[in-house]
Symmetry: C2
């Protein structure tokens, strides 16, 4: 990103800006605060694609009344530790946290809680939700489907979203183990970056509109597709497809949401599917009470030893050390909490546009 001008913002400043923007669109204050917390978590962890960079898209969707600012979130069906939540077409940033709280409450009551969610929208970073569970000494799971971008193995068209899986495990001495991965070989954002930098992409990321392997980002953008994790048959592309299918079914077939190619788009510019097979997109949350399996202190001590052991893995030639899942995000969070959140010029311009439309000021340092 060194080719772009960067402005640095205090987290508290961005947080207030996001909150006030959502409130401007009739989102209740508590919900706006919650939504800002989810978005800001992405910016703090260095997952820039999922943070305030997306605020303008949420604003677009609220402006065009494609998202309900005041959803009545309900439990559509339940049996003890499991249930389906209907998000009433609210912001995913509001529906997600509410549904995740239900999962964690169920885990407190029944040992575990599992919530499939329909009628919702884009929910930010998957690991935000998994991390919430750690505060209750639970293991947290989170998944969501999303607009089609990925071809199933042997397919030549977009049928699945990048469908992430997140899970987090608490530790004692160290930062927690946080797993959060899209089930595609690469993120769509990486295709966009390669295009902007006029670079080719690695073989294994994408196919063109006819299904041929391509190294040109524009070929993917022009009706091509991302490949699932594993890329090709030989390297396990069928496995990434299976994982993406798993997420699609748990989040959206099971909840009554739109699955696969019928998931509605996140942004106005994206194509609206021709068919409706449910309500909105879908999420899936899980929480498990560690105390029901093992003494919590013992579990955390075991995780600490796990972390120490994996850090000591003999590294590849030229590599410093093996990383623990969550390391890059923990590192960014320490840095950004201390020095602020850097935003590239196009994002700042989007925020200035949002500021103009809503009248909410965006104070620079």
């Amino acid at each position: 990103m060194s080719d772009l001008h960067i402005s640095v913002f205090e987290p508290a400043v961005l947080r207030e800006f996001i909150e006030r923007v959502f409130v401007h669109f009739q989102v209740p204050a508590a919900d706006a605060e919650q939504a800002a917390d989810v978005l800001l978590a992405a910016d703090l962890k260095g997952i820039d694609s999922h943070g305030v960079a997306r605020l303008r898209t949420y604003v677009d969707m609220l402006t065009h009344q494609r998202i309900n600012p005041k959803p009545r979130i309900t439990i559509a069906r339940a049996y003890k530790s499991v249930c389906t939540v209907d998000g009433d077409n609210g912001l995913g940033l509001v529906v997600g946290p509410a549904a995740n709280r239900i999962a964690m409450d169920k885990a407190d009551e029944f040992g575990s809680g599992w919530v499939s969610v329909c009628n919702t929208n884009h929910y930010g970073i998957a690991s935000y939700y998994s991390l919430q569970a750690l505060e209750r000494n639970q293991i947290g799971w989170s998944m969501t489907n999303s607009t089609k971008l990925v071809a199933p193995l042997w397919g030549a068209e977009r049928m699945l979203g990048t469908n992430p899986i997140a899970i987090a495990f608490p530790s004692a001495k160290y930062k927690p183990v946080v797993i959060d991965l899209a089930t595609s070989a690469a993120a769509y954002g990486k295709i966009e970056i390669a295009k902007r930098k006029q670079q080719s992409i690695p073989k294994g990321w994408a196919i063109d509109r006819d299904g041929n392997v391509t190294r040109q980002p524009q070929d993917m953008i022009d009706g091509g597709a991302l490949l699932p994790l594993g890329s090709e048959r030989d390297l396990g592309g069928h496995k990434g497809y299976c994982l993406s299918a798993m997420v699609d079914i748990l989040t959206s077939v099971l909840s009554g949401a739109n699955w696969g190619p019928f998931a509605p788009p996140f942004a106005l510019r994206q194509e609206i599917p021709t068919k409706n097979v449910g309500k909105g997109i879908g999420h899936f949350f899980g929480a498990m009470t560690i105390e029901g399996f093992m003494d919590v202190a013992e579990f955390k001590a075991r995780i600490d030893t796990w972390i120490e052991t994996f850090r000591k893995t003999k590294p590849l030639p030229g590599q410093k050390a093996v990383l623990i899942p969550g390391d890059p995000e923990h590192e960014q969070e320490s840095i950004r909490l201390a020095t602020g959140i850097p935003l590239i010029e196009p994002v700042v311009n989007d925020l200035l546009e949002v500021s103009k439309v809503t009248g909410v000021p965006l104070p620079f340092r």
Copy 2:
């Protein structure tokens, strides 16, 4: 395998042979029947590496009293929908089904059931367990850790097993959606096949003992390692590592089993880890009652439509169609139920050796 002589066996004949062999080693009749059912399921589904081909290894382990033929399987700790099971060092083929039944019983009672298992051994194919749940209109999950073979991304040594994840979803008109994948880029069996055929392996499967990418199967066998799903950093190798870590923690850190590089070996010829961090290897089973999320008939109808939709995906140039997860195994099962189970000569020789040692006859057609 066309280079090897093949003998075809009736499933019922192999089943009886396996049962009698286990009984010979003091395994109770009902447990022997259960163990044979798990092994035979692999052979019927065409997952030849995990079926009767492994009987000799189980026999070795029983002969050397490394596995307890008469385990007292206990619930070590529980809280409603979750618990830890201690397998008392029994056959995984016996402990696994018992623990999975506890998960399914809990799902009947609490909406879901989640069981982490320690003090167990190799449990056969992961999807056997997930499929059991479908008979109760549940969604079934299954994972296990195993002897170290896989390097974490940026690591140059074996630290994790091939740690599979399985999940199955019932359908109405069609065969169920069955996901079952090792979290490594390729199975160890594929390295062995390449070696036997004197072929090179694709880039992305393995590294040598110094951590260099290799295309020679022998380099992996001589102290090298398999790579996780995704292979390299660019193609998402960190994601396969994260998935393998997830399985390792859920199955073995959480249950009190040996995790990561300390998982005890499956076979006598494999190195015994220098350190003990728990009891045996670990499994993790889950079951969720569909009725708690959605009317079962509606869910199955939605899965049917999902299957139909994905089958109609525009295929890659030169490919007939996109497969549904589970297709290859369903197809093999139809064929083998009708025509028998083909075993290659080395496997038949192993069985003849087992027959000689135990006195259990192996009747050929």
